[in-house]
Point group: C2
DNA sequence: CATGTTGTGTAGTATATACTACACACTCCA
DNA sequence: TGGAGTGTGTAGTATATACTACACAACATG
């Protein structure tokens, strides 16, 4: 079961509390350029999550992290895929190696890279 | 243009030189559980690369790296996708950060992780 | 009490993905 | 010289993906 629908419904309803007119299902659907009934079905899990473009539009409208939303939909952002595909062995090895590492350890790597410890 | 077809044709012909009977198009197709005509078309780029399962079968038969072959087909292995999807922000940040880093730098990270420099 | 706005139900469609089935021509070689 | 094996051409199919179009009932609100 993809939690995608539940997640965006919760998020939308939360936003709707503060600005009811801006976050009705119809408004959000319109912003994301899809039919309201389609969004309704997605939110209730009657339809699988939409395509990458629509997910990104929804992430924008709902001010959510695009990578998190894609993950909930069982996808990986195209830009990440392309980075991996340019050096598949390298990234495959690294990612598999990091699979069971605690967040802290991975974050340390990120910081190391960012600070340019070379 | 996906280089996938050209790549596996070259690889197969190379293997065919040494063991002609084991690496005919038909034999390879049979091992990979697809129709010869389909493989023929894939090799000549008349069909897009096959699905993940078939690519993995071909990688096995041709003794090639599965991640490299998937990359040539514009895909990313499902197991890698799942690792990313479990901690999307973390991995997205890391991968984007490593995008333009030289191989050496990334390899150093891999070694660091493997050797458990914590 | 009519009008607008809410979410939802039904019934589709277009396009892509991932193939199969089978006939054909050519070459090798016993 | 005919039978096995080579690759290829044509013509499909099944299933999944990613949606649209429109009608409808419930609610509120002016």
């Amino acid at each position: 079961m993809s939690q995608f629908g539940e997640y965006i419904r919760n998020r939308r309803e939360e936003l709707q509390k503060n600005s009811p007119s801006m976050f009705s299902l119809r408004k959000v659907a319109q912003e994301a350029d899809i039919e309201p009934s389609y969004l309704s079905k997605i939110e209730r899990g009657l339809q699988p999550p939409p395509g990458q473009t629509t997910i990104e539009a929804l992430a924008r409208v709902l001010d959510e992290d695009k990578d998190v939303m894609l993950a909930l939909a069982g996808k990986v952002s195209d830009d990440l895929s392309k980075i991996i595909q340019k050096r598949p062995k390298l990234f495959a090895t690294l990612i598999r190696e990091l699979k069971d590492m605690p967040d802290k350890a991975v974050l340390r790597l990120v910081r190391e890279v960012r600070d340019g410890e070379w």
